[in-house]
Symmetry: C2
Amino acid sequence: MVTIEEMGQRARRAFGVLAAAPTEQKNACLEGLARSIEGEQAALLAANKLDVEAAKAAGLSPAMVDRLALSDLRLAGIAADLRGVAALPDPVGEVFEQQTLPNGLRVRKQRVALGVIAMIYESRPNVTIDAAGLGIKTGNAVILRGGSETVRSNAALVDLVHRALAESGLPEDAVQFVDDPDRARVGELLRLNQYVDMVIPRGGAGLHQFCRDTSNIPVMTGGIGICHLYVDETADLRAALPVIRNAKIQRPTVCNALDTLLVDRKIAGAFIPQVVELLAKDGVTFRADPEALSALRGSPSPAALPAGPQDFDTEWLSLVLGLKVVGGLEEALGHIAAHSTAHSDGILTRSDENARRFVAAVDSAAVYVNASTRFTDGAQLGLGAEVAISTQRVHARGPMGLRELTTYKWVIEGDYHVRP
Amino acid sequence: MVTIEEMGQRARRAFGVLAAAPTEQKNACLEGLARSIEGEQAALLAANKLDVEAAKAAGLSPAMVDRLALSDLRLAGIAADLRGVAALPDPVGEVFEQQTLPNGLRVRKQRVALGVIAMIYESRPNVTIDAAGLGIKTGNAVILRGGSETVRSNAALVDLVHRALAESGLPEDAVQFVDDPDRARVGELLRLNQYVDMVIPRGGAGLHQFCRDTSNIPVMTGGIGICHLYVDETADLRAALPVIRNAKIQRPTVCNALDTLLVDRKIAGAFIPQVVELLAKDGVTFRADPEALSALRGSPSPAALPAGPQDFDTEWLSLVLGLKVVGGLEEALGHIAAHSTAHSDGILTRSDENARRFVAAVDSAAVYVNASTRFTDGAQLGLGAEVAISTQRVHARGPMGLRELTTYKWVIEGDYHVRP
């Protein structure tokens, strides 16, 4: 059995080859992988069926079982995503900050692959191909550790990845998979700073926290979004309603969905009943502070409950919305500073001054003026592919695309220059 | 006594204020600090004298004692450096990658302060002021841990920092100093990922390795440079000699000084004797591989000794140079891949093709064509101030300036946009 340390050494060697591979070769590998996922559909579904049956036998919830299940449609989606990544521009080799210094030295920065990336994720087997594809495209070797519930699906998928690498002349060790179910292996991987440059967890808040606390490698944490919208007294209330609705209900289970709505006191009496009436139709329930509740006195709703002590520090991930009345912009800013996880927060306003103050004061990965928080997403913001949404502050913040999986080198060309 | 955890909490709070402080206020603080260093020279030198005497009594080497000693001249230099930092453009607030998406959303990235930075360093007390100044300028709260040999000097300097912060209306907790000599405090600081965003060690290789292995926070390691120059058969040998000499002897004790010279076999017989003759006059001694030694057969030099097994994996930090003959560019690239610490490596050549191949293949923080490795330096490359030279790959690589102490937020402005 290959040890985690040996996997690190192999990844490092494979990185040396992959990092220098031409764009065409990397894209050919992705295309070959997409084709073989289509060609081997029956075998992949058979392997996945064993995982699904084991998960059912182990009593996993239907929602969990659904997350790990593959289907014709899902496999076609995975193949299409790979072709999408192949079609994106290769960030490796990009030149930026080019300049000639007064002494004549020609200096530029040139993007290069980052190195070895460990991706640690939970049940969904599509992440295996997604992570492998992003790694290959950006010239990075990856070490994958998926959930134990999908070990058979992942083994079948990783076989196809290795075949695609080999057929395109790239080293198979560029994508390695930790198939030992012992959780101690995750801890070893997270401490492998001699060989691994970055850790990207993909999963729930617990996984992110575990990686951050355990690893001696930079970890791109994210995943928790307690997101706010503040409606100030000048907002176009008719236009605000669909934005709030979109932020809350379009996909309530994800990190950029709205968790708390803050409403200026001057408009609370008129606006809060409209919000509750509209969103209650979609099945939203509310956790309202006393003042928001009293704004509903004229039009009480069974959907509006009093907020408990933890409710403004909760990421709902469901059709629940916190509601709070504030005495103006500064109080809204104070609430956001105290309760936001610095993922996505916005203001709805017609005041340029309030918008400017909000943007300057709110230090979140994404700060919005007059838009739904649901736009915090690589595809929505033009990145093509999304690697993760970072809510830590080092290296990359917010949606991470291909470029965020690179670093750079300085290239300095002279005419036999010496330092004075 | 304030615990390390409390320091983290205080730093986080102070960061909230400092990050939003206008450029003028931060610069006024730096100017005030520079003035008070000049005004309190006598008191600072008195405190430093106690450190110097204790160091001598403890038997520290004269070189070590010199490193921790302050003088009129050094204090004037520290004050001048602060004014230099004040004069640099403030990276906070810079807007980049501004675009309007097809749906009309206006998207930009805006630089913001990074957060809380822990700086861990060894004896030199000037680093205390340097680190405080860089932190204040970039809006970051810093927690400093200096060497125990300079505890009195640092206490006196930190008092002045706190006074300057208070006088300019900034929170004193923006710069905190760990004065507890217990080394356990360093370990606690390195594990404080709840409050600290980045660790920057400044010191020797051992300190960097310790931080990297201990910390659960991203660590900007650097500090070790095993640097190479490769002279190919086409190089202008007359012009190459002063470049090699500059890289080796201009300041041999620093990380960007040359450690190993690789010479193409076709020119070794003519060139190696010239190199040895020239550099031996400066007191350089050589560790030569058998072929380099045999190139000296016609002109033997007492300065050239046979290379030992570790000599091509040694950062000399002194007037010693490794010498090795290689059979061409590919062998040079192989040697560099095996022995470089990926700090600064270069080629001397007249061949555009060789230069291109070298730049593409060598994945070091700084890759040179026809220039001395000594240019890997923030000031030399136009950064104004140098925070550190990173040889890790995340966040920043090579010389780090003020901008590398920032992160960014996404600002997204719409017209009540919803995600379809």
